[in-house]
Structure formats: C-alpha cells, structure tokens
C-alpha cells in the first residue's frame, strides 16, 4: 500500500457536490500532478462533513486545516502554497466570525466541539466508495463477532440493553422490534432498511448513505442474523442519486469480499441485499406503505395489526429499521451495550443527528448526545440567528412535528421532552425561524404538504386535512372568521383520533402546536386582518416614505398602475388598486417603500 505524506479530503456530499466539489477534485488532481506531488499527496472524496454552510469544504491532513467555500481557482493556491511549501493559506481557512481570529482545524471550531459523532463517525473521514477504508476503521468487525461468537438471542439482548430507539420518528425500541421478528416462524423473513427520508429539511440518512454506506449494510446483515432473515431490501428515495450510486458500489464490493452472499465468514449464514427506489411519495416512509411500494404497488398503508414482524413484505415476517438507527448497530456490538447506554438520558440513549436549517448561521448536520439543551444546538453549534434577528421558533419533526417557542430553549432534547411540549423528534429536522416568519403561514405550509402527500385511502386524512388547509388559506388571505380557530381544533382532534396511519394521525400537529404557542398570531390575522410578522402578502399595506426620490421605477414596475407621481417628486400608492405584489418594494433602490 502506498504511503502518502498528506491527504486532501474534499466533501462529496450532496450539499458540497451542488456547489461544485467534483470540479475541485479534478482541479486538485491536475494541480498535484502538475507539481509532481502525485506520489506524496492523495485526494479523497469523502461523505458529508456536516458544516454545509461552509461548503464546498476541503480538509488537508496531517494538519487538519479546514478550508471553506473553496472555488476552483483557489485550488492552485492551496496546492502551490500548502501542499508544496507547507504554508497554510490563511485567507481561505474557515472563519467563525468575520472579526475573530482564524481557526484552523476541525477540533477547535465551535460547530464541532460540542458534537459527538457516532452514527456519522465515518462521514467525512473515509472514502465511501472504498470498502478497504471502512474495514480499516473496524468495518465488518461487528458482523464477524456476531457470526462467530454470538447467538441471535445474544445479539438481540445486546441491542435491547443498549436502549437504542428508532431514529426514524416514533422512537420504538429497536431490540424489541428485532425480538418480535425473531419470534415469528417462517421459511423466509426480510430485513428492510427505510431510507425513504421524506421529511423536508432532514438529510441525515442521506449523509450516512453517501458517507458511510457499509455501516448500513453491516448492520442489516447483523439484524438479518438476529431475526433469521436471509434477504434485505433498502428502500431509498430516487431523489438521492449519489446515495443510490454509493450503495450500489458498496453492495458490489461487499459481495466481492464475501461479506454479503453465501456462507459469510464461514458461519453458514447467507445474506444478500437489494435496492429498491422510491418514486416521490412521502407516505412511503410509513412502514406498511413502504412494503407495498417494494412489492410494486401503490404506496398505501394498511391497518396494524398484523404488524410487519408477523406479516410484512411479500406476506413474510419483516423487520424495518431506519438508516440512522442501523448506523449505530455495529458500534453497539463492538463497544457493548453498557457503553452506548451510558450516553444520553434515562429513556433516550446514545446520540441523535439533527439537520439544522432555516434562519441559522451554521446550517448543516450535527450529532449530539441525547439530552443536549436546545439552546446549545442553536446558539453554540448553530451560531445563532443571522442578521441580528430575533429567534422565534424552531420546528422539529417535519410535517408530523411542531414549533417550539423561545420559552423552551432550555429543554434537554430527547424523545419524551419533545413529545411533552407538543412536538416530536421525528427524523431530526430542525428548522429555525426568526421574527420575519409567520407561524400561521408555516402551519398552512405544512398542511399544504400533507394534503398533497395524503395517499387518499382514509377519509379523515384525505378530506379532513383539506378542510383544515382551506381554513388556513382563508386566514392568511385576511378572510378568517370568528370560530375558525375552534373549527381547526375540532378537525385536528378528530383527524388525530381516526386517521389510518402515522401521516394522518400526526398531520394536525403543526397547527396544534402553533395554536398553542402562537395563538395571538392567529387572532391578529382573523380579528385585525393583520400579520404580525409582515409576511402574509394579502394583509400588508405598502407605503412610500419621504425617502422617495421620484425615480419612477416603482410606478413603471407596478402591474396595476396603482402608483402615481411626477418625476423627481414623491410618489403615492393607491391602496384600493394595490394588489400587494411587492414588486415596487423590490425595485426601489432607495429603501423608500415600507410594508406594514
């Protein structure tokens, strides 16, 4: 094996790929060869580093220098200065705040310091398309241990004792799930990985698949051994082309090495994995719907029981786990359940990956021990709210979750604390909102999503959520009526109680949680026809102030000729004509137009 004196790690996750990291890799390889360094320096395309805000990200080892927002033209300088002469290119190094001293390595960046990376341990560290790198980081060691030293019962017991709970949403104990599937007698069972990550704003599963696909394969094989399944299916969103490609590569490599297939490690255990692509249906994240989709049908859920552990995929006992859940398994086997159970809170063990997004300085993926205060995630790791704006709420749990207001910033995050305040863990999306975001509109946004994604099988979800959406649309357009809030609450309770699957049962949550914490905003819309966040277009009034220079730009852009005024004189908006499109405000170069 060749030894290199330096490694250039370039993030190949979706975020950085979107901002051109593939071009960077090409340029690095060209420049390194041009400088005659190709036997000394190796370029590695890794999975996601997590700090997507700073992308494309490049890390140079052995120093661990963290370069951010690198453009192709910066590459030449890094090669000629850093790699050739050993001088760090300071002006390209990631800076936390513009006025602060410059940080250099991963360990001393605030974004990473409070983190604990278990599920993401290999993301941004290894080349996900090279099985040897995974093996070098103890890869497939847990599978070997399980197959050669442990009985299926011992494996299940270890997972049970670790306290691991499903990371996909509901938080059901993983060991219990395995136990149920193991108890079912059948000639064929299936192990399924749910990689249909549909929650908007959550992308941790994609990052695991892109950055460390073998950890999921290894865990599926371990699970297969524990429950007695010889086949596994990974159901992955078609919207994740990089993840799909890396999974295919990983499966082929594992088969070549005999880590998937017949008689693995000479133990007599057979296990193979197949990929199935989703086709853009959110409801397929629900396990019974997902199985229908793998079977080739419409992704509609069905009532439980029978549970998948009894009758699942192709009518055989089936166990379904989420990607992040599985990524924890190999380490639990290697380091033991006691180690895992020592991390986190009483009822939520281990770590959780969150996707931080929205109005926050450091968007990206963060992994912290369960029980970390929400405030630490948003301010210490996330770097707070940009533009000096005020924090208003954080939305967790996607369309099934709720909005958490500033009063609860100090709660320690785990499954139970989030449920207690009307939200939920969900898959770990965390969207931060500031004072400019209207909470009624956010509720409308999520209902719009669920109405669109409802499969239509059960009435409460198909019709009930549509009625809720219609009321919310009226409210944000200034046509809200007395009694609307009560109607929303009544509909919400009925839908929660009667919908067939998790999608419908949780669909009202965004409305209920915003009603609970931001009722005054609903009332302002309905009673005063006013949007306190100045967001809802129909409720705004545009006015021209005395900053106006009379340039006529606004009058020319107005689609309904509502603006009048002479050149070089102050203009006026006729409110009766104004359709509140906001074009004039966008066009004004003097900041003379205000909305209120």
């Amino acid at each position: 094996m060749d030894l290199f004196r330096a490694h250039v790690l370039v993030c190949g996750g979706t975020g950085c790929s979107s901002s051109g990291s593939a071009e960077l890799i090409k340029r690095f390889e060209e420049q390194i060869a041009k400088n005659g360094l190709d036997r000394e320096v190796k370029v590695v395309r890794t999975g996601c580093f997590g700090l997507c805000e700073a992308g494309p990200v490049v890390i140079v080892y052995p120093e661990g220098t963290f370069y951010s927002r690198i453009r192709p033209e910066d590459v030449d300088e890094i090669v000629s200065e850093h790699l050739l002469k050993g001088r760090v290119v300071q002006h390209l190094v990631y800076k936390e705040k513009a006025d602060e001293e410059q940080h250099v390595t991963l360990d001393n960046i605030d974004f990473y310091r409070p983190q604990m990376r278990l599920a993401l341990r290999n993301c941004g560290v290894i080349d996900p398309e090279n099985i040897d790198e995974y093996i070098a980081f103890d890869g497939y060691k847990a599978l070997a241990k399980v197959l050669t030293e442990m009985t299926p019962e011992q494996v299940i017991d270890e997972v049970l004792k670790s306290g691991l709970r499903g990371r996909g949403g509901a938080g059901f104990p993983t060991g219990k799930k395995w136990q149920f599937a193991a108890a079912s007698k059948a000639d064929q069972k299936y192990m399924v990985c749910n990689a249909d990550e549909g929650d908007p704003g959550a992308f941790m599963d994609r990052s695991v698949l892109e950055g460390d696909p073998h950890s999921v394969l290894e865990a599926m094989a371990i699970g297969g051994y524990a429950i007695g399944a010889s086949e596994g299916y990974i159901y992955v969103r078609a919207e994740y082309p990089i993840a799909v490609k890396r999974l295919e590569i990983a499966i082929n490599q594992a088969r070549e090495y005999g880590l998937l297939g017949k008689n693995i490690f000479g133990s007599g255990f057979d296990f193979d994995i197949f990929i199935r692509l989703g086709a853009g249906a959110f409801v397929c994240g629900e396990e019974t719907a997902l199985m229908h989709s793998i079977e080739g049908g419409r992704g509609e859920p069905k009532p439980k029981p029978p549970f998948p552990a009894v009758r699942g995929l192709f009518d055989k006992p089936t166990n379904i786990n989420n990607v992040e859940t599985l990524a924890n398994i190999p380490q639990i086997i290697l380091k033991g359940s006691e180690w895992f159970a020592s991390i986190g809170t009483e009822k939520s063990k281990g770590t959780k990956v969150f996707a931080l997004g929205g109005k926050i300085n450091n968007t990206g993926l963060v992994e912290v021990p369960m029980g970390t205060p929400l405030r630490d995630i948003i301010y210490k790791i996330g770097g707070g709210i940009p533009g000096g704006k005020k924090f208003k709420a954080v939305q967790t749990g996607g369309p099934s979750g709720g909005c958490i207001p500033a009063d609860y910033l100090d709660i320690a995050i785990d499954y139970d604390s989030l449920t207690a305040i009307g939200s939920m863990m969900g898959s770990g999306g965390m969207i931060v909102m500031d004072e400019d975001n209207c909470m009624v509109d956010i509720a409308r946004f999520f209902l719009d999503f669920t109405v669109d994604e409802s499969c239509g099988k059960c009435t409460p979800c198909r019709i009930g959520t549509r009625r809720m959406l219609e009321i919310l649309e009226r409210i944000v357009e200034g046509k809200g009526e007395e009694g609307d809030i009560e109607k929303l609450e009544a509909l919400a309770e009925n839908i929660k109680a009667t919908a067939l699957c998790g999608l419908g049962q949780t669909a009202p949550n965004p409305v209920l949680s915003t009603l609970k914490y931001f009722r005054d905003e609903y009332e302002a819309h309905i009673k005063e026809k006013r949007c306190p966040a100045h967001h809802c277009q129909k409720l705004l009034n545009y006015e021209i102030t005395d900053k106006c220079r009379g340039c006529t730009a606004c009058a020319r852009v107005c689609p309904v000729n509502a603006i009048t005024g002479k050149v070089k004189e102050m203009h006026h908006i006729d409110r009766a004509k104004c359709i509140k499109c906001g074009s004039c405000m966008e066009k004004c170069r003097f900041g003379a137009i205000v909305k209120n």
Binding site: G15, G201, F203, A238, R298, G429, E586
Partner: protein, 157 residues
C-alpha cells in the same frame, strides 16, 4: 423513426429483465420513465401486457407517485425546492418569479416546450437554501432577482 423503435425495444428488454422479479412494476415504470421521459398510455399498456398485470394496476401505480409523468416534460425542468428550510428562506418568491418570467403556472410547460416549472420536495441541499434545480444543475442561495439571468443562459442555448 429508428430512435422511436429503439425506445420500444429498450422497454421490451427492461420488461424481459424484470419479468421474474418480485415487485417488478415499480422498477419497470422507472426505467420506462427514463427511456421515454414520461409514461403515456401506450407505454403503460405494453408494461401491463409484458408483466401480466392489468392496465388499471399499472395506471394506479403510475398516477400514485409524483415521479411518474403521463405527459412529456419540457427540455429544461426547473424545480424550485419548497422544503421547509428553503421555504422559510423565501423560496416561494423565487418560484413566483420563475412562473412570472416564463408565463406559466407551477406544473406547466411553456408553449415552446422548453421549460417546465415544478415545486419540488426537499432536495436535501438545505445549506444552500433557497435552492433550484434545472435538470441536473443546482443553483443555491437564490433571490428572485437571480432568475432572469439564469433563464437567459438556458434560453440562449
């Protein structure tokens, strides 16, 4: 015309490859969508015959999933992300601007068949919010003012 026949031959091959597979309908529809750019009724009929399922079942699946389209899409498919992270950062305004520039509504294709406007689900590039994709190219950190210049590039090509 040969191109036309090649497509149907490719479809026939896909059906032969998957015929014995459990749950073959989805992978076959996905392949057909890639080959033809959409799954019109005649393609659905061929799939139904080939896999030995009813046309209603094929139609049921094809209309259930948003990825399958019964009509052809434009040369350039512009998808503005309406995931939560993009939405709170103003992607609705980007989408509105795109629609007004192209003179179509969401889901429609321009009369010349060049551009289709879509509102997409979360693309997972939340660090670049608000995000738009035109075919495979990603545009991030957008404002409505960026749209005319981006479109001009594609209009010229």
């Amino acid at each position: 015309m040969s191109n036309h026949n090649e497509k149907y031959e490719a479809l026939a091959q896909v059906i032969r490859d998957h015929r014995e597979q459990k749950g073959a309908l989805m992978p076959v529809l996905q392949a057909a969508q890639n080959i033809f750019g959409c799954v019109p009724l005649d393609v659905q009929e061929i799939i139904a015959d080939g896999l030995g399922v009813t046309l209603s079942e094929v139609y049921g699946v094809a209309t259930f999933y948003s990825q399958f389209s019964l009509q052809p899409k434009g040369e350039y498919v512009c998808g503005v992300c309406l995931g939560t992270a993009c939405y709170v950062k103003g992607s609705q305004k980007v989408l509105d601007k795109l629609c007004s520039e192209l003179g179509v509504e969401v889901g429609q294709t321009t009369k010349d068949g060049r551009f289709t406007v879509q509102a997409t689900r979360c693309l997972g590039a939340c660090g670049l919010a608000p995000v738009m994709m035109i075919n495979d190219e990603v545009f991030g950190r957008l404002t409505p003012e960026d749209i005319p210049d981006i479109l001009a590039k594609y209009r010229a090509s």
